[in-house]
């Protein structure tokens, strides 16, 4: 999605800055923080499904490694955006979500490097914990 916003920025729709993608300088609104929470929860839950597929031997080709890398990159860039935006009324939640995004991207990047069933089972527990933290952040 960040790519789409960048294109809009190129087209002159600067009104969308401050959206959490790291492109703006305005403090995040509560809706934007909520959007970041939704995206992180989605990334974590999707990664959890990939873990299940790996643990059950349902991976093929390079699928799991590549997809986990994508999810890790998404969490990392979201975390960067949260860190870059100045703290406003949502500063506390913003900081907690940034920490969760960093943890999520670390867990996913590690699993992407060796997507075997044993690592997947270990990562699944970490992911459950992170998803729970994101929801309550």
């Amino acid at each position: 999605m960040a790519g789409g916003r960048r294109i809009l920025g190129l087209l002159g729709f600067a009104v969308l800055c401050g959206c959490g993608c790291g492109c703006g300088s305005a403090p995040l609104s509560s809706e934007e923080v909520e959007q970041a929470r939704t995206t992180l929860t989605s990334d974590g839950a999707e990664a959890r499904l990939v873990c299940d597929a790996i643990a059950q031997g349902k991976d093929a080709g390079a699928y799991a490694g590549v997809h986990l890398d994508e999810l890790a990159e998404d969490a990392r860039s979201l975390g960067d955006g949260l860190a870059a935006a100045p703290g406003g009324a949502q500063a506390g939640a913003q900081a907690r979500l940034h920490a969760d995004a960093t943890r999520l991207s670390t867990v996913l990047a590690r699993l992407a490097a060796s997507p075997d069933p044993q690592s997947a089972r270990g990562a699944a527990a970490d992911l459950d914990s992170i998803i729970s933290d994101v929801r309550s952040a």
């Binding site: 999605m1 960040a2 789409g4 959007q35 597929a53 349902k58 093929a60 699928y63």
Partner: protein
Amino acid sequence: VKQILSLALGILAAIGGFVDIGDLVFSSQAGAHFGPALLWALVVGVVGIGVYSEMCGRVAAASKRGVFDLIRERLGFGPGLVTLVAGQLVNLLTLAAEIGGVAIALSLLTGPSYRVLVPVAAVALALVIWLLPFSVTERVFSYAGLGLVIFVVVAVRQGLPLGAMAHGLVPGFGSSSMTLGMYFAVGIIGSAMMPYEVYFYSSGAVEEGWSAGSMVENRINAIAGFGIGSLLSAAIMIASAQLFQPRGIVPDFLASPALAPALDFGSAGLLICLIGILFATGGAAIETCMAGAYNIAQFLGWPWGKLHRPAVAARFSIAWLLMLGGAALILLLGINPISLTEVAVIFSVVVLPLTYIPILIVANDSSYMGALRNGRFANILGGAYLVVIVVVAAAALPLYILTSGGSSG
């Protein structure tokens, strides 16, 4: 028997060739957000592409000339040029998105980053277009694209939500955000009615030498081919609803929809799905690339067509090579293919009137059409769809901005 077999193979090819990256992205995301509540938008889009493809087939059969040749002659150079430029820009964005889809599918199958595989995908597509006869290319890509039928099997195995599907055929947005629902409805309609589809269909009809006697084939292709093909998009939407909606997952990646067949059928299901995605996006890339070259060659009066040797239609061949190269360059700038898909579909919707209004005008012109001129039924449907097209075209960009490209409602 031979004719029936040929017809059945043609319908299979149409089914396998229906889905492109726009359908994959918008159908899976719409399913995750809204369940089957936006099935109606798919029906609107598919009937629309059927109506206008049938019209294009008749125009090709009656005039033996490509759409842009007629647009320039009928509307004049200025309006024709505006239509050409708008159509080509959208074709280029769409082609870049499709090549991105090919590169991502290759990446998921083999491991290297899709960015590394973009030039590989572009060169492979160029070799396929250059070396293979179009009849072979069309069948190979369409039949391999049938791998996406696995979404139908997954959706059925998970238990079709028949009640929700029936509700989904009635225009509405379920319980979710109306603005976001409108954005996805516009995206689904746009994905089904991408301009390259009619340009390609019409040019193919001219190349195959359609005549008044080809109208049965034209109607079967336009109605059965697109109609049955759309079942794949519906299945992707429903499989996505079954897997992602209860978990609050928004499938923002091309890899995401493949999770459903993987979890249901294991490695074999995943491989079939990825190969289906590879060939569906590859086939669409070839069609988009050719459509771009057809358009410019027809507008400028160059010899065109896959039936000509490259030496005879050199400028046409250079045109599609430049399209491929330009699209690959767009991706190499680092733009994410999924974001690019969303932009391509939304801008396609914006220029839909420029694609479809000239077709309706030409199809009503007796001097071109003779006995194949639009009848009352075709005009009622065509006119109704023109209203739909203008409304979605006007709404597309504001909805894209309001929802930040579908990421918030």
